[in-house]
Amino acid sequence: MNQAASLFDPAEHAERASPPDKPTIIAALQAQLPAEMILTEAEDLRPFECDGLSAYRQVPMIAVLPATIEQVQATMRVCHAMDVPVVARGAGTGLSGGALPLDNGVLLSLAKFNRVLDIDTQNRRATVQPGVRNLAISEAVDHLDLYYAPDPSSQIACSIGGNVAENSGGVHCLKYGLTTHNILQLEIVTVDGERLTLGGASLDSPGYDLLALMTGSEGLLGVIVEVVVKLLPKPELAKVAMVAFDDVRAAGDAVAAIINAGCVPAGLEMLDSPAIIATEEFVHAGYPLDAAAILLCEVDGPAAEVEEDIERVREIVAGCGATDVRISRDATERALFWAGRKAAFPAMGRISPDYYCMDGTIPRKALADVLIGIGELSKKYGQRVANVFHAGDGNLHPLILYDANNPGELENTEAFGGAICELCLEHGGTITGEHGVGVEKIDQMCVQFPAAELTQFHAVKAAFDPRTLLNPGKAVPTLHRCAEFGAMHVHNGQVPFPELERL
């Protein structure tokens, strides 16, 4: 079954004159690019039909795999002239369907752009191509004792271009910020094939902050073709405490207690029992299998400070009822403790054929209540759920386990997911933390933002892309869509969050 079809709003493309047919578009592209960079047949295109959210699939009309900025420009010019929509794709690890192709569009892969172009040690920055893997940046500057701070759990594979487009966070963003806080300059190719530089070498460049606007724009405003990132000196020391609890409420209280004590941990993560069990099997990080929850709390900085802080963490969690505290003895053990967390999502593949990764935020104090609530919902819907949580900043990732080959299970999962969203909102949370809106949460945008704000979003979009050719149908819903969507549910008369049912 193809979920994608139902998510698209035909009205979004209605007023467009019918574009040229596929052979004409292919011929126009072939005139500009080497033939082997243009994929046109289903056999070649199917591997591109989805990103990390594989429940949503759509084979693109054409995929283009350029290797130079000029080729990106040429592709954009052809598509612009012929009114063909374009979806950019980095590493395809996105979890909200942002890189889901269009059946009438070109999928533009940036994966060949995988070179680090320049390392400027003096100014602590690196210029990289958009397809460079997040972790590859840190690896390239490792010998200089520098690193790139944002570390999404997918960092081994996700591209910096995708990180910018999604404004990705990571386990260390509590202290070091999101992607937007760690980039200095972007080079983009606009919808009509022009090159544009946004931001600048200095921290605060004059004029509007277009750099920030571009960050998190999910491929709707331009194609990122070069990124200048900030590098940070590696902290003198980093230590992580792995803390076990036999009760999730105690773990939740410990999170609050650590933050309230004035520590700013570099990372503060929580896994519940099902997540612990699944990841331990792959990573053998030494997570206690009988714990109800574990916290991973990292502190970094000058050595003396770190030693002091980690002891404080030990005292605080002991006061909150921790059953076991282990502090990493060296860099290897630290990496091992984190490895489990970083592999937590895909490790679900070991205990379930499919998982649905949700992404919401809640106030920290609500943590225990929400987790317990999710546990109750799990019983009600008869489906297993594992929770992985950026506890420090209240970003929750419930992973609902299901089997897509069982008829009806995906639908039940979606209903369960909707109920979790309601629960988050009831506790004062939001519907997306860091994975972006994509196609997955587009309807929830109608809930979170009033019409006036959505109109503003469209005005920004129009300034960059008046004909809505860049990643149409993603991230920002049309008012028309919201009206349809809202009306449908009001008709059903469900309150207070009827709209969430479809997630």
């Binding site: 056999e43 199917r46 990390g52 594989s54 792959f282 895909p346 490790a347 593949g349």
Partner: protein, 414 residues
């Protein structure tokens, strides 16, 4: 990941196995990060996740063309993706099934068929390969003009030792311990020193080393060329040759070429549906160990300081890094022996040898070798060592630095 495998395949053993493997994949893309071919081309179809998709669509009833075959051919079967995959997806098994299905549905061009035939019928046969090699070595001086490029493919002449009868290396001590040593098809003529050195050292350690003649090619070559039945026949022949010695108490089957080791540890899996062999095959797999793994368990005090600080760059073969149940102790043994190991960047990337890959995909193999040699020679080592004959021959054909099997560095102690 959701699957809808067509009925004709779904209820076959291969179909069930493929489905099981596919279901574990969450399409997260982690594996693309360590895939050598994806790193080179940046094309989804040259990465594990894309190849899994290519296989999936064949299983789902879409007729493949030469393009699908091309991208599956370009896979090194290095299994770096498996080591990276957090979901435990057994990529190599799936690729095997997929390649088999594609092979059934497509006829390869003549040239490809011929090359594959030669690989199976000459290289995999010890005596024939020895003859071919001798001819090639004799003809080296004649290889000029268009043939010059062939020269680099032929390893230099070394005193050959193709055995015609069971070879038994006796130990001085009468400990009564014995182990089987696997010879393989190419190694006896191309790099005979390797097993000779291994035998001498093991003898010194009090182990009787047996190499029965009945054993031949491990079957990997046929397996990778999608002649799976032929591979099974090799496996059965080896099991037959080893079994009497195993019953007589041989402790282990030592493999000094990790490419072969990776195949033999899979015998149990490959023959699981053959009632006549399943049990023995499983036992053989369980006894199979890499040479370094065997030596690491022995008392190696006699090795102390034989290296005199000579600098070594070690290339761990993919098979030793990624095949489950093969354990790599090379670095620690060489360090104990007093060699200085140089750091090597991107050690997880394949050198491009990959069995017959370097002959079938010379372009990709060449690019990978170039990158690998750059990393290996970055710190100017005195010698490069590896633990697989394929890697050794592939690397040595393109560098001035000597490339040897690591066991040869322990010769002074043997």
């Amino acid at each position: 990941m959701q699957t809808s495998i067509i009925d004709a395949i779904r209820n076959t053993p291969d179909g069930r196995e493929a489905n099981r493997i596919l279901r574990a994949c969450t399409h997260c893309g982690f594996c693309t990060a360590t895939c050598p071919t994806y790193q080179l081309t940046g094309d989804e179809r040259d990465g594990p996740r894309g190849r899994i998709y290519l296989v999936k669509q064949v299983l789902e009833g879409h007729t493949p063309t030469a393009k699908t075959q091309h991208h599956l051919d370009r896979c090194l079967t290095c299994r770096a993706c498996e080591t990276t995959c957090p979901s435990g997806v057994e990529y190599a098994k799936l690729a095997d099934i997929g390649r088999g299905l594609v092979e059934q549905q497509l006829t390869r061009p003549r040239r490809e068929r011929l090359l594959r035939w030669v690989l199976r019928h000459v290289v995999a046969h010890r005596q024939r390969f020895a003859l071919l090699l001798a001819l090639g070595q004799a003809a080296r001086p004649l290889m000029i003009g268009r043939l010059a490029s062939l020269k680099s493919k032929i390893p230099p002449r070394r005193a050959s030792s193709v055995p015609s009868h069971d070879r038994i290396g006796h130990s001085a001590a009468s400990s009564g311990r014995s182990m089987l040593l696997f010879d393989g098809c190419v190694q006896p003529s191309a790099t005979p020193h390797t097993n000779a050195a291994a035998t001498r050292l093991l003898n010194r350690l009090g182990v009787r080393v047996i190499t029965p003649t009945g054993a031949g090619c491990c079957g990997a070559l046929s397996q990778h060329l999608s002649y799976r039945d032929e591979a099974l026949d090799y496996a059965r022949a080896n099991i037959d040759a080893w079994w009497p010695h195993i019953r007589a108490g041989a402790e282990a089957i030592i493999v000094s070429a990790s490419g072969c080791g990776a195949e033999i540890v899979e015998y149990g899996y490959l023959l699981r549906n053959d009632p006549a062999y399943a049990e023995r095959a499983a036992r053989v797999s369980a006894l199979t160990r890499d040479l370094s793994d065997v030596l690491a368990a022995e008392n190696l005090s006699r090795l102390d300081d034989i290296g005199h600080g000579q600098s070594v760059a070690y290339h761990p073969p993919c098979t030793l890094q990624n095949a489950p149940h093969l354990h790599d102790h090379v670095a620690e043994i060489l360090t104990q022996a007093g060699y200085t190991l140089k750091p090597v960047a991107n050690a997880h990337l394949c050198c491009g040898s990959a069995g017959s890959y370097s002959l079938l995909q010379p372009e990709m193999a060449g690019a990978l070798r170039e990158n690998k040699l750059r990393s290996l020679t970055a710190e100017n080592p005195d010698v490069i060592v590896t633990a697989n004959i394929g890697c050794q021959m592939h690397l040595e054909s393109a560098t001035g630095v000597p490339v040897r099997h690591w066991i040869e560095l322990l010769e002074p102690a043997a």
